[in-house]
Symmetry: C2
């Protein structure tokens, strides 16, 4: 498979995407409509993502727990926007142990309702606050059109749920998590996301405010890569989450929720991938280094493999794959590991054994430019430095690509052109009508209102020309 050419991105981006994922052995289709199998290579990437997010959650005082996957259907009806948003997407269990259930159970599409119910049991006084909980879970949303990683009936994510004694503290938490997500995306995945707030029509069903990190894919479309919701007192009122304040008065809590899912893997594929395949950021790549031995006969093989073993021992701090399959040529292996996106390849042949050297080839720089001869002495630090260089170069390239494809729109005609192949930034009056018209006419949706806009600035709405107090991004999106 690895020797067949991928469809070039310029020819059909969507075909390229599916082919890369299948041929890199990240995932496979399953016999269940809209559900995928995440294969070991893809799941290891997810484990590395989990590890990096989880340590950030724990460092900021969050703890993990597990809540039931099955939720009484009536729970969804307690928050009116929530039920409207999720009712069409529910998977419903109606039979258990051979019996029709009295009340159907829903497979969680998200867990605000059941966690809200438990919070109302657990929270008594201000001393119990803030309550900072996360769970790693699978959820099901009945999607009609599905895509590997991007949109599947079942997907995997973390969902954070917190309760606070004041609006200010809940908002602070919402933004702390937004920053945490952006830090993870930029510094671990080399995905240069933009932080902002979603429009009313794009926010989470039941939230007061939704913040997101937005990433630009290789075809310039946007992908929402994580969201953090300030839920106000909506769920506290629906589920009676109250605390006694220090004046001994009952108050409703303020809650938040936030999530990053396996969708993020799609973001990594489409941010970094090229026509040769995946390109994985060293900090979270399942294999950071692949070692390919080169030999022509058994005598060479035995000398080369001895050096490979010595080199591998020096690289114990890294995630290393030694590809010693005897039935395949080195060239075939190069292509395969390029396709699978391993950041650094080390080639070791008889000449390297002689010269005490190793040939290093960077995934992010094809051809000669990306090749360096390393010494076998003190190899660990050299490899570490190269991986850092690759990580930084990937972030730089993706950031430059993003910035080159965001344009200021002075008028609606410009916007229409820009969103054909990029993101448009423009003044927006904030009305649902303008947003809906733009979507209808251009297929571009509002992505987010970037943070830290000067309050004093004003402009005219790109659509209706009325006074506008905020700039927003428009683009086509996944």
């Amino acid at each position: 498979m690895a020797d067949e050419k991928l469809t070039p991105r310029s020819e059909n981006y969507s075909d390229w995407y599916n082919q890369v994922i299948l041929r890199a052995d990240m995932a496979d289709y399953s016999p269940v409509r809209g559900c995928m199998v995440i294969k070991p290579y893809g799941w290891t990437l997810w484990e590395n993502i989990q590890h990096e997010l989880d340590r950030r959650f724990k460092a900021t005082g969050h703890v993990n727990a597990a809540f039931p996957m099955l939720i009484p259907k009536s729970f969804f009806e307690k928050e009116k926007d929530h039920v409207e948003g999720f009712a069409p997407e529910l998977a419903v269990v109606t039979i258990g142990g051979g019996q029709e259930l009295e009340e159907p159970l829903v497979i969680r599409p998200t867990s605000e309702t059941i966690i809200g119910y438990m919070f109302s049991k657990w929270i008594k006084s201000y001393r119990d606050l803030p309550l900072l909980i996360n769970q790693w879970a699978n959820v099901v949303r009945w999607e009609m059109r599905t895509r590997l990683f991007l949109r599947t009936l079942e997907f995997y994510w973390q969902e954070g749920h917190t309760a606070h004694s004041s609006e200010a503290e809940a908002k602070e938490e919402t933004l702390r998590i937004l920053d945490l997500y952006a830090d993870f995306a930029i510094n671990e995945a080399a995905v240069p996301v933009i932080k902002g707030i979603k429009s009313e029509s794009e926010k989470f069903a039941g939230a007061m405010e939704t913040y997101s990190i937005e990433a630009m894919m290789g075809d310039t479309k946007a992908l929402q890569a994580g969201t953090s919701h300030h839920l106000g007192q909506n769920f506290a009122k629906a589920f009676d989450i109250k605390y006694l304040d220090n004046n001994n008065e009952l108050q409703y809590c303020w809650t938040t929720s936030w999530g990053v899912s396996t969708r993020f893997i799609g973001a990594i594929v489409m941010t970094h991938g090229d026509d040769n395949g995946l390109m994985l950021p060293p900090r979270i790549a399942p294999y950071q280094v692949v070692i390919v031995p080169i030999y022509k006969n058994d005598e060479e093989r035995s000398r080369v493999m001895e050096t490979v073993q010595n080199v591998t021992r020096q690289l114990e701090a890294f995630r290393v794959k030694v590809d010693d399959r005897t039935e395949l040529t080195p060239g075939f292996k190069y292509h395969e590991w390029e396709l699978r996106g391993v950041p650094l390849r080390l080639e070791i042949g008889p000449k390297d054994v002689e010269k005490n050297s190793v040939m290093a080839a960077r995934r992010d720089m094809p051809g000669k430019a990306g090749k360096t001869i390393l010494s076998q002495e003190n190899l660990g630090p050299q490899v570490g430095a190269l991986l850092d260089t690759i990580q930084a170069a990937m972030l730089k390239r993706a950031t430059e690509f993003r910035d080159a494809n965001i344009h200021w729109a002075n008028n609606y005609d410009e916007l229409k052109q820009i969103v054909e192949n990029g993101w448009a930034e423009a003044w927006w009056c904030g009305s649902r009508e303008c947003e809906a018209k733009i979507k209808e006419e251009t297929k571009a949706t509002t992505r987010c209102i970037p943070l830290n806009q000067e309050n004093s600035e004003h402009g005219k709405c790109i659509y209706c020309g009325n006074d506008a107090q905020q700039k927003i991004y428009f683009s086509k999106a996944y």
Copy 2:
């Protein structure tokens, strides 16, 4: 809550069990019948269990993946024993996205079927074997009578699924995992399990052979703490899992599956807990050490807390909780952390500040006998050594308890008496009838046929008196 006495184990073991779990803040009941919420303290214990199992799986060449939770109902009908075993326990999704589904989907009670389907797609030749896959997942079995951790509708586990080219290799894998489970149970959880093979009537639905690790709880009942199944070619034939051997001939694979679940937490609670509460083995305890500062006024507090900080810095290699809640007395805190099973408590008061000392109290030895004065100098190694001592003492105590409560039954009357309060070991002819009669008359089930019995030995069946070639354990069980 922590100052209320627990029901003593001797009075009502089952009440004691539920109280310990709820009051130690391990878990809570949920509004969904038979489903529990695993709270952060319980989930952290599970994460530590996961970590120890997962590194053993990876060290033996297994990789993690994720398969859909929803399985077409027809898949269950392909292996006749499997469907018989699981049909009564299925939760069935009949509605998705507001529409009745053409084919109902079952929430996995276990994943042999869907993984078998995928294996048949992935395996082409002997080069693809062995295929060694594990997944960490939630599963649902519609149980009628549920107990926290021991038996819940939804539970969490790992399920390993492997495919091999020969019967011998599959059997070797089954036993490798059994050893791995026993090693984990004994050396991490200090649960002295016995390895053995299940009887025909107790084996997994669809397996050729089921091996298990069996643990003795504090009330002498048995708990099956992990199982490893040699599936023969049953699932390979049902799902057409075939490979081309090196003679280019198509052969069916031999498969295995194996699992340990959150049930294991129940095993830990009931192996080690005493009338004061939980007792957690240091190697997997969420907190290995709790530090309780002692002071009478603010001046003392500030001196003590300085020492606490210095001590904490020295213990960075351990999982340490500093309980600096000002509204509670040290005595209250001692009781609470005893209840929650923290292996080692460090008390630091003004005298310790003066004398450069720390008072250490072992959870496994109540009163003065478990107290040692440590020096603040070089505290890390002292604490490390104490935790090792506690871990070893817990295993020793549990092993002695187990061995004191297993008795050889010379005749059926003896067996009946023994299983009232212990495990009976006895000759068994292997017939389902004898096993069923014993169960009916004594409520004791066969636990396992311990491994490594002398082939030459013979005896007379404890029930029918016919020739018996194997010894087996009988006991009441969870």
